[in-house]
Subunit: 300 residues, 2 copies
């Protein structure tokens, strides 16, 4: 038990951030929540947050750590440098940067933070909203021993697996990008297979049952193709998130001079889905690029 409680601000209370923030509260950390969405703030306040606000100005100097769970590098920069958070934090505060971003952005943001005597962990996450809610995210992190040590209370509260990829900032980002290559292709090929089954006159309930009990299954197939079977495209994670992430995969492959046979095809599929108007729907809506196929409608 710590004599003084660790104070953390979770910035970005979306599907992952909200779960992570609640997990910090449950673990007994002094938890602050930051988002522009006032409903999210209200919900976290009711869950026992020490404070909630649209920015960190009022409590930045009291923080031991910051967990950035926003969507991309641009949002990280806006919060840290545009809104001045990096200036408000005490020197030695640990910043866990968990947005999915390019290696270059991860390095650039880290170096700006280090100039201000802040400690940085390049720490993308995976696992989905349900895992975040249970404090069981997977963290793929790179940074100094000091960064890992300072963030122990936050990592213990929010993650069931913490992988120390290395000490060099950017290695966490790289592993996450390669992970997203797999995740994106698995969603897209799930859609391709289910649309093909529909076109062949196979019941999608049956196809889903068979695949999830056979060697052709994947975590994403099980999770996302259930939405297709249910005809429910309420966004848990959106098509446009995968347009962004597959774009990062493509950029990374380009700078490595690495041929991306499947990642590039999946990127085109998500881009087509967004272009067709499905960008804000659940990422399983990538299946809607296949026309002339009868898909299940939403029940009830």
């Amino acid at each position: 038990m710590n004599a003084t409680r660790h104070s953390v601000a979770v910035i970005g209370l979306g599907s992952m951030g909200m779960g992570a923030a609640r997990s910090c509260i449950r673990a007994g950390l002094s938890t602050y929540g930051v988002d522009i969405n006032s409903n999210a703030l209200q919900s976290l306040r009711e869950a026992g947050a020490k404070g909630v606000a649209q920015d960190c100005a009022d409590f930045a100097s009291a923080l031991d750590s910051v967990l950035l769970l926003v969507v991309n590098a641009e949002q990280c920069r806006k919060i840290l440098f545009g809104n001045g958070l990096a200036e408000q934090l005490r020197s030695g505060t640990a910043v866990m940067v968990s947005a999915t971003m390019s290696v270059e952005d991860a390095k650039d943001i880290a170096s700006c933070l280090q100039e201000k005597q802040l400690i940085v962990l390049d720490a993308p996450v995976s696992g989905g909203a349900a895992k975040a809610e249970m404090g069981e995210m997977t963290v793929m992190a790179a940074g100094s021993d000091e960064a890992f040590e300072k963030l122990i209370p936050v990592l213990d509260a929010t993650a069931s697996s913490v992988y120390r990829i290395g000490t060099e900032i950017g290695m966490g980002a790289t592993v996450k990008i390669i992970h997203q290559l797999l995740a994106g292709v698995h969603i897209a090929v799930g859609a391709e297979a289910m649309a093909m089954a529909a076109k062949a006159g196979i019941s999608l309930d049956m196809m889903y049952e068979v695949v999830t009990n056979a060697a052709g299954t994947s975590w994403m197939f099980e999770n996302r193709m259930k939405h297709v079977v249910d005809g429910d495209y309420t966004p848990r994670s959106m098509v446009d998130i995968f347009v962004k992430d597959m774009g990062l995969v493509t950029d990374a492959a380009q700078s490595l001079k690495f041929p991306l046979y499947l990642g590039s095809a999946a990127y085109q599929m998500f881009t087509a889905a967004s272009n067709d108007g499905y960008g804000q729907e659940d990422d399983s809506a990538v299946i809607k690029i296949f026309r002339g196929v009868d898909l299940p409608g939403k029940v009830g």
Copy 2:
């Protein structure tokens, strides 16, 4: 308990067939094994087979059922019609056709068997050698109620999940082909991701650990990328099997007029691997199409 024991011949004692045949023996069926490989025959005899041979001539008339676990339609035709098995079986014998093949081949073979008063189940399988060994294959089957009923002893002995896709011959083949689209793309994108990680200087042990504990995992990633991590390309299932299966996927998509973004890219990758000389290696050897990448070598 049956008063008379059900007699089954398992034809094709490869990784799946051997497991299925042993499972039939364990379940108390009078089990015959057929293969051209005499080591496989010897091994099944030691496991308690009632008889083993390179063809069924000596025991065909004693059989209640035949389980065909060979590689493709061509081998099925050769055994059934070229070698005359269909002529030797008693009328009413049930033939479970479990090779992966096109809808057209499944229908054509079934109709030739039905002309000879044989009962047919269009019944591709999945699950891998380990599941077959435990009598826990997944069967995706189409056929008449009579076919399912006659094959109950064999299905009970060899499968943990039997999906009745429909009554129309060819629907089992279709579901298996769509399943292989997923399986093939999952192996190929696993290879793409692991090769990209290697090129980016990420340890493949670490990458494997992270992915298998995160949302980017798949059954095939877990199973096949372990071979890459171990540098062990001993064929459990070969690259050339996926050249064949992705070819069937492509043909099926063509006849459905269905666009195959990811399946076609994966097909090219397996074809390139075979063309590069890796056709008889484990299907995870598709990763060898990525040159200039340091992959783990075999330990020991």
